[in-house]
């Protein structure tokens, strides 16, 4: 019995912590994608709490009622093979719950994989986010600037991060804006998101990538479009251009502070997409190339 009370007390403690303190990052969304995942998480927590409580209550009742110390010495438990109605219920209810959650899962997965609802008509701001040991490089092809370890985005605008890696697999994660996606060396993956309130958000690599992994973080600063434009102009006015030599130095393993440059590394060190994709095996054969491009375009458009 002590166990049950320990558990119950603990659940109440968790509930108090959850409601009392600052909201947990994942459950404190600042954009539509993270809001969808937060809703799914809350819905699943409630459904799952129902299941856990049912099992716990049944268990407690059974343990209290049928413990040996409460029964006659000569009580001989019956032999029960099974009952189609009871077994129908214990199969049926889990199936219904799983069907319900499957629908939620599929619908929400399609939602977070595409451009956020309400932003479909906008031209998204494309930012290439590439990781190297243990930094993040953000390239703005349209604005022709590049930053390291921090990224500015306009609020209320569809933003498309194109992810890849200069080294081990990493995972791009800004919990308050969207879930994770891997950045890999041989293909480009895409995250669509939008920020609906201005502010500074924690971003990090969530996938273990070696010695400097713990500090492999970046800041996302969301601001209105006009401030964003001013910021871009500032960078153009003040920052140095990014050359291939400088970029190769940046790639050296280690940690760096926040940096900004004009120009992007995409020109001299193209991302692994299209003809530079990891799947084209470095071949110049025409037929193979076209097949590979087909492959890669599939990778980009999910």
């Amino acid at each position: 019995m002590k166990l049950k009370w320990t558990l119950l007390t603990f659940i109440f403690t968790i509930a108090t912590v959850l409601t009392g303190c600052e909201p947990l990052l994942v459950l404190d969304p600042k954009g539509p994608q993270a809001a969808t995942t937060a809703d799914v998480i809350w819905l699943s927590i409630i459904t799952m709490a129902f299941i856990v409580i049912t099992v716990l209550v049944l268990l407690i009742i059974i343990l209290v009622k049928y413990r040996a110390s409460k029964q006659d010495d000569d009580y001989e438990p019956p032999h029960i093979e099974g009952n189609p109605i009871v077994e129908g219920i214990i199969v049926g209810i889990p199936i219904l719950i799983v069907i319900f959650l499957s629908i939620v899962s599929v619908v929400s997965t399609y939602q977070v994989e595409t451009v956020p609802e309400g932003y479909e008509d906008q031209e998204p701001l494309v930012i290439y986010a590439s990781s190297s040991n243990w930094k993040w490089h953000f390239s703005y092809p349209e604005q022709d600037i590049e930053t390291v370890n921090y990224v500015f985005i306009p609020t209320d605008r569809s933003v498309q991060f194109k992810l890849y890696s200069h080294g081990p697999i990493t995972s791009f994660w800004v919990p308050q804006l969207a879930g994770q996606k891997y950045a890999m060396a041989d293909m480009v993956t895409t995250i669509n998101l939008a920020a609906e309130s201005a502010g500074e958000f924690m971003g990090r690599n969530a996938n273990f990538s070696g010695e400097g992994f713990a500090e492999n973080t970046f800041n996302v600063i969301a601001m209105p479009q006009d401030e964003f434009d001013t910021w871009v102009d500032d960078i153009h006015a003040t920052a140095d251009p990014l050359t291939e030599d400088i970029f190769n130095e940046l790639l050296e393993p280690g940690h760096l502070g926040q940096l900004a440059f004009t120009g992007t590394h995409l020109e001299f060190s193209p991302p692994p997409e299209g003809e530079h994709g990891g799947h084209n095996h470095g071949s110049s054969d025409d037929t193979e190339q076209s097949e590979d491009e087909h492959d890669d375009s599939e990778h980009d458009h999910h």
Partner: protein
């Protein structure tokens, strides 16, 4: 000099030097002790060369307990390092090595041998057999596991531990990003022990199909044997994938291929796919025997037959099939798109259905029962709600969109420990306590056992439930440190306290073994728990031939029928019994493979070639050796039976 430099530790540390000294001292003490007490002959004849499934089972269990303490020490070190922000107990490199070895040791060298050890001891007894189908192969399986475990464990004193996580994702695990020999050790230690496991799989499938007692149809097998059968079928299908993946990894690292290395057409996610095509069935390889053990224990201590026997079997078969169709949920975030993720999300959630059926069947087994709270039963009772929490968080993780937020966080860490500890570890502790009198003829002290149980459960809840919260607050797994501003401190400190309580629990369990060896009464009889299945129909501890007369069976609870319905188990008279001979070949072959693996790790090719030739020579020798086994005479059997208190019942 350059030759020897490779064997040095790349990241030395006083703790590692202290361990080196400790290892040398303990080894000297063991050798000196064996010599002084003149036990070499006993050790060699009775244990190292044995083909008896019971002794092999016990050796598996001893190894598993030792590895539990090694992996547990890693765990406490990790929790200590994270107990406060900016802690300077371990640096990043050491932390990476510690969590890598923690994962590998706990899965491959603790949980696997624990499961296989209990199967070894119990399954032949439950089906009324005298041994497994291929006793010498069984010994080879054990020694290959042991060689792999030793190879893995010397890595941290010679050449350096692997540091790319137990999942060992490429390209992080490639030469470019992991330059020490650590990952080579990972490849060969798992390769050698994995081949041993594959042989176990084949051995037990054949044993269960071909060696059951007369009358024991498949649907009359005890539930643990059913779980063992399904587990071993999964092993046979899943482990070859690991073998191939490890070989490709070895080629990438040591022969310059690029299966997984990026560039030259390699694909980094190829490793992740192969790893989890094996890895997800692997978690069911661990949990299904645990389900079997809980079924036996809950039924015994509720004094009731197992509710819904058929649906229990059906749900395990269903789980084993589904286990091969869910691997992608380990990397929903790879960017394979919404359609693929939706499919794998649904298959994953589908596993909750058969698992839910099992939970309710266990509850219904206790219903109208007569529940006795012994130590094995306490673990089983705690398992039900705790595993339900682990299961439902698994369903939460299976929802792909939400998984984008849980992936790689402490939420995930909390989930899988929530299934593995109450699921597998509690089952192993419960099973060990339950079958202990079968193995050694006395019961482990219940009082100390209950103390250990409470420390275990409270420690577990404190250690792992806070991780669900820190995960949702953005704490990624495998971070060796965090800053105070993250706010992770109080909950991580709580986890550390929980880990400390669990450490006390396991120390109590070890102490209980010593205490009970000295103090427990030896007159517990052959059926101390009032149990139901066939293994309790023979003596405690079990004589080497298991059953003097082959039992005849007509239900899944043959022994219960014998006790309550006057079913005659043993018809006929005692006859001579055919038994397998001991053999030194398995341990020699495993020793050779150890040398092979070690030399391969350091690319010492002459030694690799010599070891390979020696290995094939052993195989040739075995093939042409004429070993017909031996007979125990009827008189000798009768004498033994009388010593145990009367001939067969």
């Amino acid at each position: 000099m350059e030759f020897f430099e490779r064997f040095a530790i790349p990241h030395p540390d006083p703790m590692i030097y202290a361990s080196m000294v400790a290892i040398v001292l303990v080894s000297i003490a063991i050798v000196a002790g064996l010599t002084y007490f003149k036990k070499w002959g006993y050790l060699w004849n009775e244990w190292l060369t044995t083909t008896d499934h019971k002794r092999i089972g016990i050796m598996y269990l001893i190894s598993a307990l030792v590895m539990l303490f090694r992996g547990g020490a890693d765990a406490v070190m990790m929790r200590l390092q994270l107990s406060s922000p900016e802690m300077e107990f371990l640096n990043a490199q050491h932390y990476n090595e510690v969590f890598t070895t923690h994962g590998v040791v706990m899965i491959f060298f603790m949980a696997m041998p624990f499961v296989i050890g209990l199967m070894n001891y119990v399954v032949p007894l439950q089906i009324g057999a005298r041994d497994v189908a291929f006793p010498r192969l069984n010994a080879l399986s054990f020694w290959l596991f042991f060689a792999g475990a030793m190879l893995f464990n010397i890595s941290f004193v010679i050449g350096g531990s692997p540091d790319a996580g137990w999942t060992n994702y490429f390209p992080l695990a490639s030469n470019e990003f992991s330059q020490s020999v650590g990952v080579n050790y990972y490849m060969w230690a798992l390769q050698i022990s994995g081949i041993g496991t594959l042989m176990t799989g084949i051995n037990f499938v054949v044993t269960i199909f071909k060696m059951r007692a007369p009358g024991m149809k498949l649907m009359k097998m005890p539930m643990f044997t059913w779980s063992a059968l399904i587990t071993n079928v999964i092993i046979v299908f899943a482990f070859p994938v690991l073998t191939v993946a490890l070989l490709m990894g070895t080629f990438d690292r040591q022969f310059g291929t690029s299966f997984f290395a990026t560039g030259n057409g390699g694909m980094d996610m190829y490793w992740a796919n192969l790893f989890w095509v094996w890895g997800h069935p692997e978690v069911y390889i661990l949990i299904l025997p645990a389900f079997g053990i809980y079924s036996e224990i809950i039924s015994t201590f509720s004094q009731r037959n197992l509710y819904g026997y058929k649906s229990m079997v059906a749900s395990m078969v269903l789980i084993s099939l589904l286990s091969f169709f869910v691997w992608v949920h380990h990397f929903f975030t790879m960017g394979q798109g919404a359609l693929t993720n939706s499919i794998f999300s649904i298959t994953t959630m589908a596993i909750a259905i058969p698992t839910g059926i099992k939970i309710f069947n266990w509850l219904l087994t206790m219903w109208k029962g007569k529940i006795r709270f012994t130590v094995p039963m306490l673990y089983s009772v705690a398992f039900i709600p705790l595993f339900t929490v682990g299961g439902v968080t698994g369903v939460m993780l299976a929802m792909a969109s939400a998984d984008y937020q849980y992936h790689n966080t402490m939420f995930l860490v909390a989930h899988f420990h929530n299934t593995i500890i109450p699921g597998v570890v509690y089952a192993m502790l419960a099973g060990l306590t339950y079958w202990w009198p079968k193995m050694f003829g006395f019961i482990l002290n219940e009082r100390i056992g209950k103390w250990a149980f409470w420390f275990n459960v409270v420690g577990f809840v404190l250690a792992f439930f806070p991780m669900y919260i820190t995960g949702l607050d953005g704490q990624a797994r495998r971070m060796y440190t965090y800053s105070e501003s993250t706010g992770f401190t109080p909950l991580n400190m709580l986890s550390f306290v929980g880990a400390g309580l669990m450490a006390i629990a396991f120390i109590l369990i070890a102490y209980n073994i010593f205490y009970s060896i000295k103090n427990s009464p030896r007159n517990v009889g052959d059926d101390p728990w009032n149990a139901r299945s066939l293994e309790w129909a023979t003596h405690n501890p079990v004589p080497e031939y298991n059953f003097a007369i082959e039992p005849e069976v007509n239900s899944s609870e043959a022994f219960w029928d014998h006790k309550k319905k006057k079913h005659t188990l043993f018809k006929g008279k005692i006859d001579k019994i055919h038994m397998p001979n001991n053999s030194g070949i398995p341990i020699i072959m495993a020793g050779i493979l150890f040398v092979f693996g070690f030399s391969f790790v350091f690319s010492i090719w002459p030694a690799v070639i010599i070891a390979a030739i020696a290995f094939f020579a052993c195989m040739m020798y075995s093939s042409f050796e004429n070993d017909q086994g031996r007979y125990i005479s009827a008189d000798e059997v009768k004498e033994t039976e009388e010593k145990f208190g009367g001939a067969s019942k």
